[in-house]
């Protein structure tokens, strides 16, 4: 009787699709939080994160953090799910429209305003204990959770880029743009590029664009015209374009080969700007040669870009209280310290000064650089702005558009996005 089995399955599928069609804009208000840890029937919350399956971070989460949390808060069980970063943004958008969002998620800081604007994140400001946490975390990472005067997440970990250099090719790291150019010209004769970027998108270009004196918008993120296309911004991008035209910038910067890590470990590139994750990955091959230093200072100073992840709760979840207990735990000294041991930079000043961080030599440059690091424009339309800037930087570096035109074209495309059209 195969037919009997098939029809209910199809009916079930149909029902699922229909259910998914009417996506949840409901969700409950956070309940009083104290009793959820003591509740008799355990509440299970789903936690999406992007720690890779085989990583030390994932092991630390599952073997150290979650057991500790479930001991402290026996009423709540955490179902931690590894989500690959590639395609995750689009997967989230699909989940917003079709249902299936988790309760809590560790998400890239650049997505928080977008999802807050969509109305699917829980504002946290009025929750019990929020202000205590807000007072202990670093203001830069915290600000990436802000949207229209409310906080829609907590910073969970932070990172930035520093100058990662090969000490065999560069015995002393350059501290200014002039020194960088001089070093790169000297290396050129050996067939080595002085510097290479991982691509021409904002994440890779901003540290150099900002350090060279460029800006993207005004301080309140309402306008790009007058900032992105200003004389200072043009000069900043022109500096990078000239550096590239002089044959000093590695081809990975505009998508050529070898890629930045391959070229760096192979000795084709003397330095990169990159995050702390490069050290555990490449020190096996390169040993002591891989070293970090703050970015060389240009006309705008030595300014890097802030990366990292925020911990957000989805408004669609009906387990708000449990989600908040878990969020508070992840910001505790214990959890921050435990993740610092596996290379996740903490978001509290105390965490940054803890042994877990200071005992790792390569993190010193990052902690120092974080004092001079900016967030990417924290607006809902960031994914589109990211694309526009990537196009502009790529066109300028490839010489397919003059710098002034590339930047003014981009500014005029970004303005309406900032205005919220």
């Amino acid at each position: 009787m195969r037919r009997r089995a098939i029809i209910p399955t199809i009916a079930g599928l149909a029902a699922l699709t229909l259910l998914a069609g009417c996506s949840g804009d409901g969700g409950e208000q956070p309940q009083a939080g104290d009793d959820v840890c003591a509740s008799e029937t355990p509440v299970t919350i789903t936690f999406w994160h992007t720690y890779s399956t085989d990583s030390a971070e994932n092991t630390q989460l599952n073997d150290v953090l979650l057991p500790e949390f479930e001991k402290e808060c026996p009423g709540v069980t955490v179902d931690a799910v590894v989500m690959p970063y590639d395609g995750l943004h689009d997967q989230l958008i699909a989940a917003v429209s079709g249902g299936g969002l988790p309760d809590v998620m560790r998400m890239d800081i650049i997505w928080t305003p977008e999802f807050a604007d969509l109305g699917v994140l829980t504002p946290l400001d009025d929750l019990d204990g929020f202000s205590d946490i807000a007072n202990t975390v670093l203001p830069g990472p915290l600000s990436t959770n802000e949207f229209e005067g409310q906080h829609y997440g907590l910073p969970l970990d932070t990172n930035t880029q520093v100058l990662v250099y090969n000490s065999e090719l560069l015995p002393e790291p350059p501290t200014t743009f002039e020194e960088l150019t001089a070093d790169a010209e000297a290396l050129k004769s050996q067939g080595v590029y002085g510097l290479a970027l991982g691509g021409a998108g904002p994440w890779n270009v901003f540290p150099w664009f900002w350090s060279a004196g460029g800006t993207v918008t005004d301080d309140s993120y309402t306008k790009a015209t007058g900032y992105l296309d200003s004389a200072a911004s043009q000069a900043a991008l022109q500096w990078l374009v000239d550096f590239n035209d002089a044959g000093l910038l590695g081809p990975s910067s505009i998508g050529g080969s070898p890629d930045s890590w391959g070229g760096f470990s192979g000795g084709d590139y003397a330095s990169l700007s990159d995050g702390p994750w490069i050290f555990p990955s490449l020190s096996g091959d390169m040993g002591d040669k891989i070293t970090g230093a703050p970015l060389p200072a240009g006309p705008g100073g030595s300014i890097s870009v802030v990366g990292g992840e925020n911990l957000v709760t989805f408004a669609t979840s009906d387990k708000q209280a449990a989600a908040w207990e878990f969020s508070k735990f992840m910001l505790s000294d214990f959890a921050q310290g435990a993740m610092a041991e596996v290379g996740q930079l903490p978001v509290t000043q105390a965490g940054l000064e803890s042994d877990a961080v200071t005992s790792v030599p390569y993190l010193a440059a990052y902690v120092q650089q974080l004092q001079n690091a900016q967030a990417r424009t924290p607006v809902p339309a960031w994914p589109q702005i990211d694309q526009i800037l990537t196009d502009a930087f790529t066109a300028a570096l490839r010489g397919s558009k003059p710098v002034d035109q590339a930047l003014s074209d981009a500014a005029s495309q970004i303005d309406p996005l900032l205005a919220g059209d």
Binding site: R3, I6, I7, I10, A11, L13, A14, T17, G21, C22, S23, D25, H89, D90, I93, A94, V96, S97, E114, L118, G119, V120, P251, I254, G255, G256, S257, P383, Q384, Q387, T390, D391, T394, A395, R398, S400
Partner: protein, 311 residues
């Protein structure tokens, strides 16, 4: 009274109806599963898509979407130059890749229809690209066509000296069409070969033998006997290929992402970016519907044009 041939005497209307009901009841279990699947996965999304295209779709709260009538269609046809770039690239892809696939597929089929050593191996080799994942071959092509000293550049610049300098294949509008189209053709030839091979093998030997007796040479036999008999196959293949060409997506999405500056966008990648980067689902669906309607019109026209030829 018993009739052995019930069709001789018309049955009363009520009996006819009840017999139809019985037939329906017998057929239903066979038809229903497919029907329900089509309703759920084809008809319902289509209706929903038409509905969404009339709204400024509010993603998290669809019920609060704003009804804007045909504004999305007006925007596509009159206010959005990138839409026309995507239309141009999609048509260009179809115009270039479809005939080349047919010619190469037919050529391979004719060669492998003869008695040559190891033809099974050749057939398998030609068919291999067809069954390989789009995802994987797109990444392979991205590597082959990478900038600077990428394998393709290295071959054309340093070995055969056809190109004076490396071409940024994936980063400029017109060069980027090359890897996208070559990938499409390379991946499609095997399928064409199989279809044509099947058609060639269904041509009776007697026709060729008769043509030989009439003094026809190989070329005449090919153009006068084989090709006319392949007409239904041509029709089938070209319809399928054009629909497939209009649906080009993965290769474009992975090789260029529609860039630089959206200049290599095709309709499906543009639809995807509208929905998932710009969160403009209403407009994305509109682009999708326009593509769907275009494919339907083409299929219909092709049938009309080729019908006479086939019969």
């Amino acid at each position: 009274m018993v009739t052995l041939t019930p069709s001789v005497r018309p049955l009363p209307a009520t009996r006819r109806r009840s017999r139809r009901m019985r037939q329906l009841a017998t057929a239903a279990p066979f038809v229903l599963p497919g029907l329900i699947l089509v309703l759920v996965f084809v008809v319902w999304p289509l209706i929903r898509g038409i509905q969404m295209s009339l709204y400024d779709w509010n993603l998290p709260a669809p019920s609060r979407s704003e009804f804007i009538g045909l504004d999305n269609f007006v925007r596509a046809f009159t206010q959005d130059p990138t839409f026309w770039v995507a239309v141009r690239n999609t048509f260009l892809y179809a115009i270039v890749t479809v005939p080349i696939q047919i010619v190469l597929g037919l050529g391979a089929a004719v060669l492998l229809n003869g008695r040559i050593r190891g033809r099974t191996i050749y057939r398998a080799l030609f068919y291999l690209p067809v069954v390989t994942s789009w995802l994987i071959v797109s990444y392979v092509f991205a590597f082959l066509f990478s900038d600077g000293d990428g394998p393709v550049n290295y071959f054309f610049v340093n070995i055969v000296h056809i190109l004076p300098e490396p071409v940024p294949w994936l980063h400029e509008t017109w060069p980027a069409q090359v890897p996208i189209m070559v990938l499409g053709i390379w991946k499609g030839v095997g399928w064409n070969m199989v279809i044509f091979l099947a058609a060639l093998q269904s041509i009776p030997h007697e026709l060729n033998e008769a043509a030989v007796l009439d003094g026809a040479n190989a070329w005449q036999r090919f153009t006068r006997v084989t090709l006319p008999l392949l007409k239904p196959t041509f029709q089938f293949v070209s319809v399928v290929l054009i629909v497939g060409a209009f649906n080009v997506f993965i290769s474009v999405y992975l090789l260029t992402g529609g860039g630089p500056e959206k200049s290599t966008e095709v309709l499906l990648s543009y639809m995807y970016n509208q929905a998932f980067t710009n969160l403009d689902f209403g407009y994305g669906v509109t682009v999708g519907l326009i593509l769907g309607a275009t494919v339907m019109v083409f299929g219909f026209l092709q049938r009309r044009i080729t019908r006479g030829a086939v019969d």
